[in-house]
Amino acid sequence: MHVDNDSLVTSPSTSPVTEDPWAFEAGLDALETPTPPPRPGPAKVFLRSVLPPAVAVAAFIALWQLAYSVGLRPSYALPSPLDVLHTFGQTVRDGRAWEAISISVSRGALGFAASVVVGTVLGLAMWRSRWLRAALGPFVSGLQSLPSVAWVPAAIIWFGLSDAAIYAVVLLGAVPSIANGLLAGFDQVPPLLDKVGRVLGLGTLGRVWHVLLPAALPGYLAGLKQGWAFSWRSLMAAELITYSPALGIGLGQQLNIGRELNAMDLVIASIALILVVGVAIELLVFAPVERRVLRERGLTVAHTR
């Protein structure tokens, strides 16, 4: 339909553009606004996310019980699930479990905190200096794939059977992940956002604070999460090997005691506790922060586990 220019001005009631432009735009908005997928109800969440792993755990315990009942191994090598539960209950009642958890978690937290400081400073330095990044980048990435247990003998030779040796191993395990996560976060910042900061008239510091750091946050958080996992692993490797009365009995040391006593029930109970504590800290501390940061940006949580 052709309408000449004059009729638009003089007889708006017959023109095709006379509907309220505000209503037109509001209508478009209503039609085009993305609708988020409905949140699944509690029944669906249970069926999808809770039931399958619960079934898997139950099946695993049933198989274990079966292997015990048919006598696949002598009972000192393969205790029954109930034996392990009993031993675990004992360690809880006499306080050994709590002591081991508190020693290991406080070491883990301190070691992780130190790793965050060192890893962040290292990541920032490598991001600022192209030369430093070219020089250190391959080593930092390479260290990520080196199992940190390999550092334990060296750490013991340098620092003796001490807390310093344990922290050295934790740092060497966690720092590369944190530094690399921060670098990845910076690399992912779209250059356009920095341009926006300049157009708005923000200075260098303002752009770093208001644009760059928040934009790099998801990558940094992923690095922190991985850094925690590596801290915990490194800590257990270190505790398992550096055994000394002066160090107290952490989870790794408790595991080692089980081995020396040939007490398989204590060994299994310790392994389960190490797993549960490590996963619990990730789920209670890191997962909620990461989920919140990603959700407010409309990103979905990557399923890495």
Binding site: D4, L28, L200
Partner: protein, 265 residues
Amino acid sequence: MAAPTLEPAQAQQAAARAASTCSVQVRQLVQVFEHDRPPVLDRIDLDVAPGEFVCLLGASGCGKSTLLSLIAGLGTPTSGSIEVTVGRPALMFQEAALLPWLTAAGNVELALKARGVGRGERAADAERLLTLVNLSGQGRKRVHELSGGMRQRVALARALAQDSRLLLMDEPFAALDAITRDALHEELVRLWSEQQLSIVFVTHNVREAVRLGQRVLLMSSRPGRIVREWQVGLSQPRVIESPGVSALATEITHHLRAEICRHAR
């Protein structure tokens, strides 16, 4: 070919503006990125009068985005001068480029903060600006909860928050669907007249240029030069379907194609 109201007027325009105060005055601007290739911008002269709506039209590689970036102060030209008399210009991109960790209002408020608006006034100011782009009450939405058109309007509100008299737009509606683009054309023209803005609007869409601009400049590619200019003698509000817009767009397209044909080997 052109309707009687349209006149390709160059010499007379340039003379009329030379003495008056301009929002932007670009003189003999040259930008060379690689020395063995033709300059991206070659001796560009451009005056934009206060309150004028100028459209820059050209094929890919004609340097129109480079020209906008230079006017916005995001780079240094090889030679020549750019004088912006109305303070720091606002610049919009093809992407809304909103900060995804902030709400719609938060994005507008950051521009206010950068301009030095006090903390207490920012929220009310942001709501006022969002109302200007027909997004009143939507300030608390996150970027990912907005449609493409709404995001671009938040970007427009953010640009307005800079309180600049000069708005530079780099193909801001190119990624939108035709219906949404239509709505934004109306919105932009309304804001342009209400807010007395000078606008330099870069596009490769001829009809869009004629729909919006008072003046349309055609640029050549490699080297980027302003080769022709048209005065659009149609009054706003226009519609993109009108015969007047069609007629001028047909004429300009003819010249644009001729420019592109020069590059055939």
